[in-house]
């Protein structure tokens, strides 16, 4: 278990990534005590990812992107934002990973190609080599999104590269470092952000399956506003209809996430509010099996259920 001080630093480092402009006053006050110079750095590495999680983190409604890049920014490296490129970017990255640029925390987006390391390369090294080296110097890691947590789509059946998630990767190498899993394909920005706030204010959040219980303890189905329809057996029979989406294949009953109460894109909407069945993107087994389709429409049309 990591002590609270370490967690505060982790938290602060991530706060810096997303800014703190609109936090509640006590949280803000707690954060303000950490002088910018003392805030540890964050190294954000992408493996076999689609960058969707990074893009989702930029959709955070509050705090503002301005705070992200000013007051608390210690995001030492992110391939999408860093001004420096090429050998000098690699040099910066390696200074941290070699332990020559001070403490840092690792944020990982994307799966690791365990059986085909050449399938993901950053500079002169494979992604796997960077992660192994970082394990020796980092203070801890956050796995961001389905791919980094459990392998995601790259690890779905047919997986040619041996794609796996970060925790699995470290365990296979006997590396025992704290990895917090934030699932979702992509993550909701709040899931990452508010985990950090919890770390700052209280310390280690309660974890279920290495994921913060605050967001992932209850099923989409349990929280769903259409649960009443489910009980009354008011089911949508085809796509675009209202009612409970269970008979179209909704995976809300199998998926732990708080989308029904949190909503997406600044509270604009979320899957089921737009009549789209939950496809279980926050589940550890998301998209895993070829014979477990997202929807049941084809079955209804052509195959005896």
């Amino acid at each position: 278990m990591v002590d609270r001080r370490t967690f505060l630093k982790l938290a602060a480092s991530l706060c810096t990534t997303f800014g703190v402009g609109s936090l509640p006053a006590p949280v803000l006050a707690a954060l303000k005590k950490i002088t910018p110079g003392a805030v540890p750095k964050l190294i954000y590495l992408q493996g076999m990812s689609c960058t969707g999680c990074s893009i989702s983190l930029l959709q955070a409604d509050s705090p503002s992107p301005l705070s992200l890049i000013t007051d608390y920014s210690q995001l030492a490296f992110h391939a999408d934002l860093s001004a420096i490129s090429g050998k000098k970017a690699l040099n910066l990255l390696e200074k941290y990973i070699n332990g020559d640029a001070g403490e840092y925390f690792l944020a990982v987006e994307g799966a690791i190609p365990e059986k085909m390391p050449e399938a993901c390369v950053i500079g002169n090294k494979t992604f796997a080599e960077h992660l192994e080296a970082a394990a020796k110097t980092m203070s801890g890691a956050i796995a961001i999104g389905a791919c980094a947590c459990d392998g995601g789509i790259p690890a779905a059946e047919g997986n040619l590269t041996g794609a796996i998630g970060l925790k699995d990767f470290y365990e296979k190498r006997g590396i025992n470092k704290l990895v917090i899993n934030i699932r979702g394909c992509s993550v909701h920005p709040d899931w990452v952000w508010h985990t950090i706030i919890h770390l700052v204010k209280i310390g280690v959040p309660e974890l279920i399956n290495d994921a913060p219980a605050l967001f992932f303890s209850r099923k989409v189905h349990e929280l769903c506003p259409r649960y009443h329809d489910f009980q009354q057996e008011i089911f949508a029979k085809k796509l675009g209809e209202k009612g409970c989406l269970f008979k179209l294949g909704c995976l809300g009953p199998d998926t732990h996430a708080d989308c029904p109460t949190r909503w997406w894109n600044g509270g604009q909407t979320w899957c089921i509010d737009s009549n789209a069945p939950c496809i279980g993107c926050a589940s550890p087994t998301f998209a895993r099996k070829k014979d477990f389709p997202f929807y049941r429409i084809s079955e209804q049309g052509h195959q005896p259920v």
């Binding site: 301005l66 999408d80 420096i84 090429g86 085909m116 390369v121 790259p154 047919g158 992509s186 052509h302």
Partner: protein, 503 residues
């Protein structure tokens, strides 16, 4: 002298470019896509309706384009009649996604190639955002950190804009663009269910209802983005162009152009599109035949056969293949190298005199900055083309959203045939995107995606012809062989996305 430009930052994904420098000039360039996942193999054997979900995960920057291409391919295969509302919603989602992507690309990914961040230290005004940034940079620089003011410093050696006010204005817009891109994505999510990775897009339409409150909400968000495009984005591009006029003539690719056309104007298949498609070679325009597209793998890490047509594609990775230098295949049209993307969209449409707004924007900007339409094949040309796309798309979206009929259906009834095939072609923000699906026994028998950056960052084909971006780099004069800011500006002008190109 051999210099690797990778890892290239401020793009999507894992790109290296191997350059050879002689006499301060790039004499060879090889684009190396360094990440492979194997999507086509993952798709094989799955339920066809999984495809518009799985393929969105090829790219989280332009997932909606993949959802739309997959939906078009399935609509063709299922012979679906799409209700008018369904097609309009597809357009509203995809168009808004283009707008966000252009802003993100110019400000977050490209601006630091031209704008001098350190100018903020001379800021004397009262803008709260800028004062905050100034204080932060001052603090960072005074600290004893190994890398102060990361991720904005260190940066590449080079000449940056000298005018203090221009720099500071652009930095202010960098901050504002981060807010505006969210609004464009929120607008798209109204109908897409969420962004990134929409759950509401299907072949045959969208599951979201057509409601007046959705329309008004959408129009208000897009209206704000449109204002930013006109008042800030366009002027900023022109300001960069004024400071670096030589970039109207740097970074031209040496092949033709393909655009599949963007945003169908009615729900019928093959209906006219807002920006029309075609092949442009020299001055001649021809219609697109998907059968003329082949993909070479002589220099790509696959042992599957080279030169296959899209519908015959197979995928066998061979990470140690002799002579191969990238995971990206080399698509060719009738054997010819093609550039895709914003400039291709504008040029292909302009040469057919199709969209009058495109025509007048190109003509007026060309006169204003003293270039020919053909000069859009350049670093600045690609940036300006994005802004032209943005202006045309934003106007269209406001009008298109008025065409939604509240209360009418938004989805076709779906029924998956036992055997079928179909192509789906659209324009992602980065260019021509093609999906192909073949269904056997109600399951996916073959799926192939030929993606914009597969064209642009393609390696040599089997005849040895360099890809579009390689050809744009070769011949470039550079000041500092190690940093090559000139080459990086060329690469950024293509907005490469490696997750897309290899997938």
């Amino acid at each position: 002298m051999k210099i690797d430009l990778g890892p290239v930052t401020r793009i999507e994904g894992h790109l290296n470019v191997k350059t050879t420098i002689e006499n301060q000039k790039v004499v060879d360039a090889r684009c190396v896509g360094e990440m492979f996942r194997g999507f086509e193999v993952i798709l094989k054997g799955r339920d066809p309706l999984d495809a518009q979900q799985i393929t969105q995960r090829i790219c989280g920057v332009c997932p909606y384009a993949h959802a739309i291409a997959s939906s078009y391919a399935q609509e063709n295969a299922y012979k679906l009649e799409v209700p008018a509302n369904g097609r309009i919603m597809h357009n509203l989602i995809q168009g808004a996604n283009h707008l966000y992507d252009y802003l993100l690309h110019f400000y977050q990914l490209s601006a630091l190639d031209f704008v001098d961040v350190t100018a903020i230290l001379q800021y004397t005004g009262k803008d709260a955002d800028l004062l905050k940034v100034k204080g932060w940079v001052q603090y960072e620089l005074a600290s004893k950190k190994t890398f102060p003011a990361a991720p904005f410093l260190p940066r590449l050696n080079g000449d940056y804009i000298k005018d203090k006010d221009l720099n500071i204005g652009a930095l202010k817009h960098y901050i504002e663009a981060m807010e505006l891109q969210k609004k464009a994505n929120r607008a798209a999510a109204i109908f897409g269910g969420k962004f990134p990775h929409s759950t509401a897009i299907f072949p045959g339409g969208c599951t979201q209802e057509a409601r007046l409150d959705h329309i008004i909400n959408y129009q208000s968000l897009i209206g704000e983005v449109r204002e930013f495009i006109h008042n800030k984005y366009l002027p900023d591009i022109l300001a960069v162009a004024e400071g670096f006029p030589e970039y109207w003539h740097i970074g031209a690719s040496k092949g033709g152009f393909i655009s599949y056309g963007l945003l169908p104007m009615s729900s019928e298949r093959d209906s006219q599109r807002l920006l029309t498609g075609g092949i442009l070679q020299g001055d001649s325009i021809s219609p697109i035949d998907f059968g003329s597209i082949t993909q070479d793998v002589g220099y790509a890490r696959y042992s599957s056969p080279s030169g296959l047509k899209v519908s015959d594609s197979t995928l066998t990775p061979a990470p140690h293949k002799e002579g191969a230098y990238t995971w990206t295949k080399a698509p060719r049209y009738d054997g010819n190298v093609m550039e895709v993307g914003p400039a291709a969209r504008v040029l292909v449409d302009y040469h057919q005199g199709h969209n009058q707004q495109v025509k007048s924007l190109v003509n007026s900007f060309a006169t204003k900055v003293g270039i020919e339409a053909a000069d859009l094949n350049s670093v600045l040309g690609r940036h300006l083309s994005r802004a032209i796309n943005a202006v045309v798309i934003a106007d269209f979206l406001l009008a298109e959203s008025d065409r939604l009929t509240p209360g009418e259906r938004t989805m076709a009834d779906l029924s998956i045939p036992k055997e079928a095939e179909g192509y789906g072609a659209t324009e992602a923000s980065r260019g021509a995107l093609l999906h192909y699906i073949r269904i056997k026994d109600y399951k996916i028998d073959n799926y192939e995606c030929v993606v914009p950056t597969t064209w642009n960052a393609s390696p040599r084909d089997d005849r040895g012809q360099p890809g579009a971006m390689e050809s744009a780099l070769i011949g470039t004069k550079i000041s500092d062989p190690e940093d090559q800011i000139e080459s990086v500006r060329i690469i950024h002008s293509f907005d490469p996305c490696i997750a897309c190109s290899v997938h």
